[in-house]
Subunit: 500 residues, 2 copies
């Protein structure tokens, strides 16, 4: 039997060669000089680490199965100026820099670079610097976690919140880098909407830019803030951010169960297009396998029917929530749902929503001895039923247990593929087929998890040569030495096409 | 007395020299060769024009007072491939290309280039190519007008609409170029949010790119769609677009009047942060001068009180609109409003909203013999009262009649400055002071009208040298010959700083 680490080694060897020649990076001697310079400038306690365990841990993730490498040094800046110092040293010796903070990403975004990389640990730059209640905005450092920001607003009695809600533990800097979203996206949009009013970033040339002022709107040219959203730390290092906040509204939770995904999706479309659409904060799909896993995991008092299920968060004033829920109930009934449960109390609402929140945990608990490959894709909403149906058929043929959650209002679909040690390659191949299926349905290889190492091979197929070349043109112009997070995001070129 | 055209000539001479040397563009002989090539390829009726009147008209705007130049030729493509042809000919002879469609912009975006430019008239590429009702999206050409799109959806009985609503006559391509918004932005955000799912664009190198697929969300790298939003036709020519649509909801209109702008803005903030906030589609401020102009223009049956006034559009189900309007009434009363008028019928609603719609027309009608300089800035919402107050004081000192409308929920402020022939320079200087005031309040020189020629001198002050250099780095990488709309958007460099 092939062990997991051996199988991961095999996957690793599949990785294509880098498009930028490794030979232009620091030699081992130059790398040592860079480390020495960094240690000299950042000589305070814990400001740098070269402990081998830490270098390995910071360069890999338990949540992904992509090639990894240990970093050469971890540096912990505490200001924009510190980051400028680090970038300048890195440039002097041509050492790659990998930004790191929440470490929650799933596609190998923060893995080390093979010739030796600086792990720029931003997690200590986590301060909230300014809360402008009258303007509904907030200035913070990139290491701040979205959950801490919302907790701070709540405990200060400020009736505002930041609506992007990716995985627990995610930080603002990583959320920008990944172009995140979450369950609230159906109402509030994603990181690519207008929640980031401006960023302060250090560019590879060591220059500091602040992309915009604090006004909510501006038509002063193309928005350079957007350049950094989804760039996965490859165009600049974010050191400060102004977030726009939304009014915090009362919410209620409801649940409805359906005979299949197709009718669930039709119900969602009708609800969103109704005059009660503006009250829908979230619509989450948990498939029958997921409901089964929740039952098996034993986290619930009474087992749920094993059916494709929608969870709703409905927001607004008490009377509007109540009238919206009546409309929703009528619509889901029309589309074949036999059950509609509306949480009567706060506690009941929390209990219901926890099923969504602990989806991954329940999946693992239901299949003891397995690991989980988590992946996401996104397709036009009308294609979602086909995607879900074909994926489940495929995974069943591959004998891989699986559960599904989806931000169904956006066509965004997450599969948790559970596998045993000897099935890593099968799991990897099933993910590959899932991604191809999504792209063939006019969709994307990732709705919210990003590209990192894990999805870059699909970008050419998804976006076409022209768009990839445009992305690379910008990358080369902004980061001509390819210092920032090399090996991530941009598809590797074929040797013959490599223009560098 | 100095005539208007003479005064405009004087303003023209103030224009700084271009940062890109004009000498690298086509010589007169080369320009003639380019024209000949274009005429040969586009030999159908009306496909090209070199009529001097048309060249002048297409190169200038009645709505702006910035330097202009006639184009050398107007070309009318009807497909992406046509645009590739034109771009390739332009590149061969180094002739600037200026994209043109709705011609509603206010900052000289489509004026000709002094050494001779190709006016790329996209207004004929105005087809709606696909309506995907189940996915709430629509594919169209860039010459399509937003009003026609919404009319088409309505007449087909499709309960969806495209929520960006800039000036009447604006086209999708221009809306992308300008990074537009409009009265709906307080609820739906701007062009920089997620309404443009993808664009097909022809780059200066003649390559066609399609920035994304049709899924609503994607985390596949930084979003190259956003590069073109607000780029004012300087990075590529848009030839096809996928728009996201929103559910069309029933609306009602209401009006409240206030003793001053400060209390009106406080009322707005409280309304937006209430549980009824999601029902607010628009909140427009018309100042006392504007209300006076409406009365004077005689477009209303009975004169309104001359007070700072808010107009609301409230959306949702009938019962939610009704409960929202009760909350709004209570809040505006608390903030000192003595009047609250809620339109009982559709007709009354249309009548009320027309006052907002015909603001410019009313202003001109109220001051016969004047022309109007329309400008916009945007500041953090809490700074809006100060901005409005100081601007009105300033304009009063300058003896320039003026009216104000504002997208007050976003801090976006439009001034209509009315001037006689001999006051053009005073008007120009008052606009200059207004912009400086907005920037000093952490705001932007333009909330939604864009930069063009008129605002580019402010960008360095507003965004800083680093951000401007980043914008120019991208421009140079994508358009190394500076063929697309030169002289617009990017601030001119000082000779000493000019790195080209």
């Amino acid at each position: 039997m092939v062990g997991l680490s051996e199988a991961m080694g095999r996957l690793r060897t599949k990785d294509k060669s880098e498009s930028i020649q490794e030979s232009h990076y620091a030699s081992p001697e130059e790398l040592n000089l860079a480390i020495r310079d960094l240690q000299r400038v950042f000589s305070g306690p814990n400001q740098t680490t070269t402990d081998p365990d830490a270098l390995r841990t910071y360069g890999s993730s338990e949540n992904s199965y992509h090639p990894t490498a240990a970093h050469a040094i971890i540096v912990r800046p505490s200001s924009t100026e510190d980051v400028v110092h680090i970038v300048n040293i890195a440039r002097k010796y041509r050492v790659p820099i990998v930004a790191y903070s929440g470490a929650t990403s799933l596609e190998g975004h923060f893995s080390g670079y093979s010739t030796g990389s600086i792990c720029l640990d931003m997690s200590g730059m986590d301060k909230i610097l300014q809360i402008n209640v009258a303007d509904s905005d907030l200035v913070c450092q990139p290491g701040a976690r979205w959950e801490d920001i919302n907790q701070k607003l709540k405990s200060d009695g400020i009736p505002l919140f930041f609506p992007l809600d990716p995985g627990p533990g995610a930080t603002i800097g990583g959320m920008i880098g990944t172009g995140c979203s979450g369950t609230n996206a159906v109402r509030y949009g994603t990181a690519r909407a207008e929640w980031f009013l401006n960023v302060t970033a250090v560019l590879p040339n060591g220059h500091i830019v602040k992309t915009r002022r604090r006004a909510r709107k501006s038509a002063a040219g193309f928005d350079t803030t957007k350049l950094f959203i989804g760039a996965e730390g490859t165009l600049g290092i974010i050191t400060e951010v102004t977030l726009r906040l939304a009014p915090f509204l009362p919410t209620k939770v409801a649940m409805a169960q359906f005979p299949n995904v197709e009718v669930a999706v039709s119900a969602v479309q009708e609800i969103l297009n109704s005059p009660h659409g503006p009250h829908i904060q979230c619509i989450e799909l948990l498939d029958n396998n997921m409901m089964d896993a929740i039952n098996k995991a034993g986290l619930v008092e009474r087992p749920y029917p094993v059916l494709d299920t929608l969870f709703f968060k409905i927001q607004g004033s008490a009377e509007c929530i109540s009238s919206a829920s009546k409309t929703i109930q009528a619509i889901v009934k029309k589309h074949g749902s036999k059950t509609f449960k509306f949480a009567a109390t706060e506690e009941e609402a929390d209990d219901l929503w926890q099923n969504r929140k602990y989806a991954l945990m329940s999946s693992l608990a239901a299949y003891p001895g397995t690991r989980c490959w988590t992946t996401d894709v996104c397709v036009p909403v009308s294609k979602l039923p086909q995607l879900v149906y074909e994926t489940k058929e495929d995974l069943s043929r591959a004998k891989l247990p699986n559960t599904t959650v989806g931000h169904v209002g956006d066509g965004n679909f997450h599969a948790f593929i559970l596998f045993r040690e000897n099935q890593l390659e099968e799991a990897s191949e099933a993910v590959h087929r899932l991604v191809q299926r999504a792209i063939n349905l006019d969709g994307t290889c990732t709705g919210e998890h990003g590209v990192g190492v894990g999805k870059k091979e699909y970008l050419l197929d998804e976006l076409g040569e022209g768009t990839i070349e445009l992305m690379k043109t910008i990358k080369r112009a902004v980061d001509p030495l390819n210092l920032l997070n090399p090996g991530k995001l941009y598809p590797d070129s074929n040797a013959s096409k490599d223009e560098d």
